[in-house]
Symmetry: D2
């Protein structure tokens, strides 16, 4: 009953096989092997246009390099207060950009409120150098709290950004989970909605370590080869990342893995809803679920083998907590079994 | 006949197995799993003292974070003109430190001349802020041109550094190749000789992607967790790096792999020496060899399937080139077979 | 009727004379002249202890270098949402520190709420590297909205900071205005209350360009000479800054200038309070006043020659605006005359 | 007999008067006052085209911001080994650019050798990201050792730079000294010769603190307002810098001051040449002279009141030193009197 994080998962067998397959041979280093090139082409097909794609090892580097590519002195990046770049990356964007500032916006359930964004960006003016200058919008799809921007929501935000000449970055650490839930094409929920740069995550969804930084306008990536190398994120044996993506994208593996994780979360949420010992904190749509439990209940579940994290209450969310209740985050992943979920739900029903 | 780089190699079967072994389960993310801890302990044993060890994915990040850990404003890092941090890392040290300067020292065959170092460091004075301040010495063991610092040479240099309170970093991307050639213990050729920080490389010697940053004085690493994370070099599934090191260090795998690569290089060098169609440029001691070939010869070898790189002449090396001769680098690795070497030597003897 | 900013003022005659006095001679450059040393000693006397003092040219550089001196990777600086470093310095702190983050705290009338600070700092933990680490507290005395921390308020905040080993910086761009209002000694409202570093401003209070960065523990300033020089803030003819401070501190000039500016503001506020055409937005205590005017009134005043700025409403301040009212900031300075104030108040009474 | 540095000088009376003239009034802060605008126009006239000009306080900030404006990740700046940005700025360029590298070129007497430059820039290739990328050429006019690039020499170097799309920066800390010696127009020795950015110095030539950063293509300066502000180099009372430049450029003051300093240096060099107790180290053309003295002679001169510095021998200069001889630098400035020079020469003749 491992619900701590999709980062705690292992790797899908197909991914491991792909690594093993590359191990015997040799190939050009530093991202120019035939395999690297082939997988780059695969991304073109996936997104239905010519993209510039860069393989890196961590989501944090992917996000930070994406924003470094559109860096400006005194730059301000608009993002949600609960976004990963704000909460979980130890100032990686600030560091990689030499000091850009994250403008933390509010909005319900992890999604930026368009009015907040408009207000915040309107406070900047070329006549007032002291405040710095707007530099980018960064969205998280799916959000950090398990919600998903609808197509219309993304379009509204990117339109505001583009009206101010701001490029739009999407942190897609859980892009696959959002995609399968939305049931749309990768192109339709990215560049066709105005997204310029995508951090396309593989690690949380079955890879060992595979993140792709995708620029829908390759010109915007002109400096990325240097940005990536000077930051130490150009792997010598890049083909081991390329190989992971080759397997990940083959035969819809990535969609199947994400669909499974999502389905397990649905099953878990259904179980929680049917229980009178716990309740969902808000409606989530991906492999992340958030629930209230009494502390005593949480202790009991952990003793029985369930692994999950108590979670800080997201900013701006008004929640009615019962006495002695805690908020917990429950994440399923590609490895989660129905048995694990069912056992957890069963334990939830136990009279303590 | 792949002699381009040890970075072009694949991965040892034991390494791949170790990755596969981790794939099925799950574990704490971000470097705190039981496996991470166990492998850290393994490093303590290896170096016969308590060290602080940090797993990262690339040699460039390992070197840059090592020097960021001892960073000073206006800082000057003393290193060889041919070192990897100067020649091959796109300003990674400068970037990671926010602008430290690499003081490029000369010295024969890739090794810093102690007199040069003394002269260079003596030009700095606390009374002259304009010049900046000395910050660290960085050695490369084995050097970039296939040579190895003797025990005495390292001691001489670290003594100069320590007399000025400068910490000493060792870039050990090919540490194993140096170690097996020297036939000493890891402790004896590092901290017992005055080395404070070691970039311990695994990638070039059979790993997929595994580098360990080792601090012999853990206090010196106090900020490293933050430096690593903000630079995007903390992997979520770190245990896949830990697992590589577990296998790498088990049963002397790493020493066997390096010894094999070295032996193949010896065999290659013997072949070159016995040939009248090529000659060694200088005596190297590791898996890197440098030779002069006539251009016509090089073309012939390449057509026959040999892969190797033409190499810029190292600074300060006086070489007598024959007419139409080029300098080439030939690197063997853990996968190189005797047949590959012998075939190359045989081709070398062919009358064109 | 110039109430736009104390930055719009000129310079006191004594300051100009001091510059002129230095012009004819010559002296050692870069901060080591006899005059520099003498003025440094003057600061020791002023603060009743040995301090390390560094002359720079702008308040922004003073603040940013102060925080760079206590920099940490992934560092978080706690400060008020309305502070100058947040609102008016184009990311100077972030830049100078290579990416530290400003944690914007709330609190009534420009002063940090201790509870907010405690909460914010408590969210950090050495076990959670992802969030970064606390690095410093930065207070503004007087605040940006004309208020002043009482002795007790400063002590409460510095005690929280020190309990977490955080150094405390005070942005004293208008330190003199606060000091004369509080009627205490410089030592009593700084290091005796737990302040570690002071940006001691002279420019807004009658100097041409003179800011002193004061470290109450000289050891904390060990790297400052290098930080200042590499940032381009070491002036060659520093003695022209030293000379300004010499005159500024002689015969209580600085206190007299600030007392005058404050008195003019008091006079202005009394005039506004007695008017039924305007009203003070909140009670301020220094040379800054904030008032509500009807827009029509503001236009009339400007046509009559008054210079002042419309001001964004400070965060978290609940104000009852009448219909068509605007918030304006009125700053007096050492040059402001009673006539200017009286004329403004008289115009305020005019029937439009 | 003050020959230590032109930085040790005071300020011209006209400059001090200009400051005093501004002191009584008030004006818009932060570079937008009528005076700022008027002086900017004066620069347009001076350079016979529309330029973008930014006032700052130090030469180091001017140079560093100039290069930050054309920054690239992994960027390499080509400059002379003896240039101020290499030798005397504590890594300011590296810091302000977040890690660009200074590629130190040789060349006789402080001037870059075109062949060295061509060789160095040719080593970079877009196919080899590891080495970084060329970013700018930086010349010093007049050079740090008192020499001056001829018109043809500048054109040769800028042509090489532009053929590689590299912008050209000129460090003109002693621009006036070069200009009056060359007897050409400011336009003719800058943009008409291919210079893109000029650090136009006033401080060493009679100002208190006044440096102007001039972009001949204003588009190249698009980010400069933000770069300057975030670096803390936007002065609030900028008009005090503008006022200095107004006086400096009026009635050819700047040319007269520089011509005087140069003439005094000529007189000094003539005196040295006629002496058999000292000899010029190399032919210099500006207000800087370099000579060999016996150490005993230097001691005698100092005891008699002469102030000058012993100087490190410039790299690559072959000098025949006599036994016990030292190299000294002798700088005249706008304040140097004929009497000072004559007294020094007279003392030089003394039998010790």
């Amino acid at each position: 009953m491992q619900f701590a994080s999709d980062n705690w998962s292992g790797a899908a067998p197909e991914i491991v096989e792909a690594i093993a397959h590359q191990a015997a041979g040799h190939a050009d280093a530093y991202g120019v092997s035939a395999l690297d090139r082939a997988v780059e082409d695969r991304f073109n097909a996936l997104f239905e246009r010519e993209v510039a794609v860069f393989f890196v090892g961590t989501g944090t580097s992917s996000n930070a390099l994406a924003l470094a590519a559109v860096n400006k002195p005194g730059g301000a990046v608009f993002c949600h207060r609960e976004s990963h770049i704000v909460v979980d990356e130890c100032g990686a964007v600030e560091f990689q950009t030499g000091g850009a500032r994250l403008m933390q916006l509010d909005g319900p359930l992890g999604k930026i409120d368009p009015g907040e964004f408009t207000d915040a960006v309107s406070r900047f003016s070329p006549d007032f150098v002291h405040a710095g200058q707007p530099m980018a919008l960064s969205l998280t799809q799916a959000s950090e709290v398990g919600t998903i921007y609808t197509r219309q929501e993304v379009e509204t935000l990117t339109a505001i950004a583009h009206s101010r000449d701001l490029p739009v970055h999407m942190d897609g650490a859980r892009f696959a989970n959002a995609l399968v839930r939305l049931g749309e094409s990768p192109a339709d929920i990215t560049w066709r909605q105005g997204v310029d740069i995508l951090s396309f995550g593989g690690t949380k969804n079955g890879c060992v370590s595979a993140e792709a930084l995708v620029f829908f306008d390759p010109k915007m990536a002109a400096e990325l080869p240097y940005l990536r190398k000077r930051a130490g994120h150009l792997f010598s044996k890049t083909r081991f990342i390329a190989a992971q993506f080759q397997a990940y994208l083959a035969d819809d593996l990535w969609l199947r893995l994400a669909a499974h994780a999502n389905a397990m979360a649905e099953r878990l949420r259904a179980g929680i809803e049917s229980s009178d010992k716990a309740r969902l904190a808000w409606p989530s749509e991906t492999n992340e679920s958030f629930a209230f439990l009494r502390r005593e209940q949480a202790t009991f579940l952990r003793k029985a083998g369930a692994v999950f994290l108590e979670w800080p209450r997201p900013h701006g969310v008004k929640l009615q907590e019962g006495e002695d209740e805690i908020l917990v985050r429950l994440i399923t992943n590609f490895q989660t079994s129905e048995d694990e979920v069912d056992r957890f739900v069963e334990l939830l029903g136990a009279r303590l």
